[in-house]
């Protein structure tokens, strides 16, 4: 083992760790705001990557139909409620807010020829992908979690598992069993010291850091971010202050979908992704989030980077036991956390 191998492994671990860190942040965010352990986080990664791959192949990705379908369902429910209460003025907003973007994208993509679609500039394709996948977050929150928002964390977790299974199944229907790889953002590599670093690696690191900075600004400087933080700290208190917890839930799930889809878009040129790849990636982010106690953003992000590094080095030393080593990390962490932190009873229990 020489220095170069050490560095290469470190670089690989950092790259993967950056992605895990993003997912860990999304998991902490969703948990803090809605108390949902958001297992389907990984599915957004797969959906993001595979939607982009479908666009690049000139095909209409099935996720568009999912967005439209969910939008219609939400419009029917919310519209029905609005009609019942005689609040007709809200109807246009409900329809536009839930169905507008999916329908526009559906029209846009099906209006384009296959060649024109695959020839679109990469940033546009990525924008389309995000436009398709991100609305899934709030829509799913409205349909799945909002009606049971006050249930115990255990019920929410079970529902999250069910949602995860459903989304995986839909992924198989939309994209088929085979894996896809997308084109890299830019080909080539740069030499940094003794290392040859692929451009895509730099993109991932850059995007992760930028996103984390963006989240920081969002939480510290904007009214929406502050509302999210308030909801996370004390739901009842936040509601008394006039913060809509429903809005906070939708927003957090939308952010989670955005982070997930963007992670998928970032890793898809590096590796082949399958309809069910997201779960394992999400799970490693989850280990990071656990290290942060599902509460601390910086510790969760650092934990996730640690997971990436551990994974990389253990794949060198003992490749057969890689997963074992990575997931066993959770045991000492839990032990340490339960010994050092005071256990706070859930308010519902």
């Amino acid at each position: 083992m020489d220095l170069q191998i050490l560095l290469l492994l470190g670089q690989d671990g950092l790259t993967n760790g950056a992605i895990y860190a993003l997912l860990a942040l999304a998991l902490v965010l969703v948990f803090a705001v809605t108390r949902v352990i958001f297992l389907p986080q990984g599915e957004f990664v797969a959906y993001g990557a595979l939607t982009l791959a479908a666009l690049q192949a000139g095909k209409l990705p099935g996720t568009v139909w999912l967005a439209v379908g969910l939008g219609v369902a939400v419009v029917l429910i919310d519209g029905g409620l609005a009609l019942k209460s005689g609040n007709l003025k809200r109807l246009p907003r409900i329809i536009l807010g839930n169905l507008g973007l999916p329908l526009v994208l559906l029209g846009l993509i099906s209006g384009l020829e296959a060649e024109a679609l695959s020839a679109l500039a990469l940033p546009l394709q990525i924008l389309l992908t995000l436009g398709i996948v991100v609305p899934l977050g709030p829509l799913l929150y409205r349909l799945v979690f909002q009606p049971i928002a006050s249930a115990t964390p255990l019920v929410l977790l079970i529902v999250a598992v069910a949602l995860h299974m459903t989304l995986i199944g839909l992924g198989l229907v939309f994209f088929g069993a085979e894996g896809f790889r997308t084109q890299p953002f830019s080909d080539g590599a740069v030499e940094i010291g003794p290392l040859l670093v692929q451009h895509q690696t730099l993109w991932i690191l850059f995007a992760s850091v930028a996103l984390i900075a963006l989240l920081y600004v969002l939480f510290e400087r904007t009214i929406y971010g502050k509302a999210l933080r308030a909801t996370a700290l004390n739901r009842t208190g936040a509601r008394l202050m006039g913060i809509s917890t429903t809005m906070a839930g939708k927003l957090s799930m939308g952010l989670a979908a955005f982070i997930g889809a963007l992670s998928g878009v970032l890793v898809s040129p590096m590796t082949t992704l399958y309809y069910d790849s997201g779960f394992l990636i999400g799970l490693k982010g989850f280990v990071g989030a656990i290290i942060g106690g599902l509460a601390s953003y910086p510790v969760a992000a650092l934990g996730a980077v640690l997971v990436g590094l551990l994974e990389s080095y253990s794949s060198f030393y003992a490749s057969a036991f890689k997963e074992v080593i990575v997931f066993t990390l959770i045991i000492p962490v839990l032990l340490w956390r339960s010994l050092t932190s005071h256990h706070v009873e859930e308010e519902e229990e």
Binding site: M1, I5, E178, S315, K322
Partner: protein, 384 residues
């Protein structure tokens, strides 16, 4: 009598055919990996089952296809259901080695012949009371490993590094390959493993590079086999790269693109059926299947896995008429006669080779069941 009606009702419910599921029909249970990580194996197999003959020896054949989602627990559930509810005479499946191994116990316990479509030789070796009931239509890994080692020795490869799946497929390949390579004085410098859905194999690759082998063998199946080869190339590896026959489908070429150019691998002759010499005994039977499959699913849609399902059908096609002379379908005697008939198969040309089974060899292929190919310009090129 009551029980019988109940079971008959169950069968008709399950198959959705109220009257046609009569007792005299031959029921073939199929459990394969139509979803899950091995779906790229299971889907062409499922498509092929739909092409198998619906009458054999004048008897109607019903195929009951279940999906095991590449999960061995589900595979066991499936075979139990097929045997107890559908009263099948023979089971085809599953697509992967772990699932097949799990199903084997149930097949032997219920004395129902089973034809696996998976690769590893441990499904039919060493012969024992359980494997008495188990057959295998796909080439043993040993057939393929021998082809690789032969190609290595004739190309002056003296040291090899191995990287494969951390499951029965990868482990099985390593064992077979190590055995044969050692006999031929090829040194194995590294043995690394990775998971099907890993997103990075940089660590393993670096270890392989540090060992400086003449060639690398990737013991993986389907599109996940692209990742090690891609990473090796990225890190500047210049030696020969060998893949196993588990990658022989169009999706591997699509996902791999230019990253998998130049890979050597052994495949069943069916994959390059039209490139075979005219006097090759497998050419006719292989082309028959290729034409039939591509006729339905379009040109270039063929994959070697579907061929294994076809060959299971070929085995049945020759064994069922023999067994019918001895007993009625649906009985224990018929299942036994069918087992004996499959075991007695001689010189039967199939899509992947010529079947010559015996009490000791429940696979039955020889060296005619594999050829070496190279990935060239995005297609398989036969190496003469």
């Amino acid at each position: 009598m009551h029980r019988k009606t109940l079971i008959a009702t169950l069968i008709s419910l399950a198959s959705g055919l109220a009257a046609s599921a009569a007792w005299a029909d031959i029921n073939v249970g199929v459990s394969l990996a139509a979803t899950g990580p091995a779906a790229s194996l299971g889907i062409p197999e499922k498509n092929t089952i739909a092409l198998l003959p619906t009458t054999i020896g004048g008897q109607k054949v019903n195929y009951i296809v279940l999906d095991d989602a590449t999960d061995s627990t589900t595979a066991v559930k499936n075979i139990k259901k097929l045997i107890s509810e559908n009263k099948v005479d023979v089971v085809i499946g599953s697509s992967t080695t772990p699932s097949s191994l799990a199903m084997m116990d149930v097949a032997a316990e219920n004395e129902t012949p089973m034809i696996s479509m998976a690769g590893s030789a441990i499904i039919v070796e060493p012969m024992d009371a359980k494997r008495h009931w188990v057959f295998k239509s796909a080439q043993n890994d040993a057939h393929m490993a021998t082809a690789i080692v032969e190609h290595m020795t004739s190309n002056n490869v003296q040291s090899v590094a191995f990287i494969g799946f951390a499951d029965a497929y990868g482990q099985g390949w390593y064992k077979e390959f190590a055995k044969i390579a050692e006999a031929r004085k090829i040194k194995i410098l590294a043995n690394e493993s990775y998971q099907r859905n890993d997103t990075s194999v940089t660590g393993q690759t670096l270890k392989i590079l540090a060992a400086k082998p003449d060639a690398v063998l990737i013991g993986a199946a389907g599109t996940p086999a692209v990742l090690p080869q891609k990473t090796l190339k990225e890190k500047g590896y210049k030696g020969a790269i060998y893949q196993t026959h588990g990658v022989a489908n169009a999706d591997f070429l699509r996902v791999g693109g230019k990253d998998v150019e130049g890979a050597f691998l052994p495949v069943g002759p069916m994959v390059v059926a039209d490139q075979l010499a005219n006097d090759n005994p497998v050419k006719k039977s292989a082309l028959e299947y290729v034409k039939k499959y591509e006729g339905v699913h379009g040109k270039g849609s063929i994959s070697s896995f579907g061929g294994h399902a076809w060959d299971a059908g070929v085995l049945l096609g020759s064994a069922v008429p023999v067994a019918l002379k001895k007993a009625q379908p649906g009985t224990k005697e018929f299942r036994k006669a069918l087992r004996d008939a499959i075991e007695g198969t001689k010189n039967l040309p199939a899509a992947h080779g010529i079947f010559n089974l015996s009490a000791q060899d429940h696979q039955g292929f020889d060296q005619r069941a594999r050829v070496m190919v190279k990935v060239e310009n995005g297609t398989w090129k036969l190496i003469k």
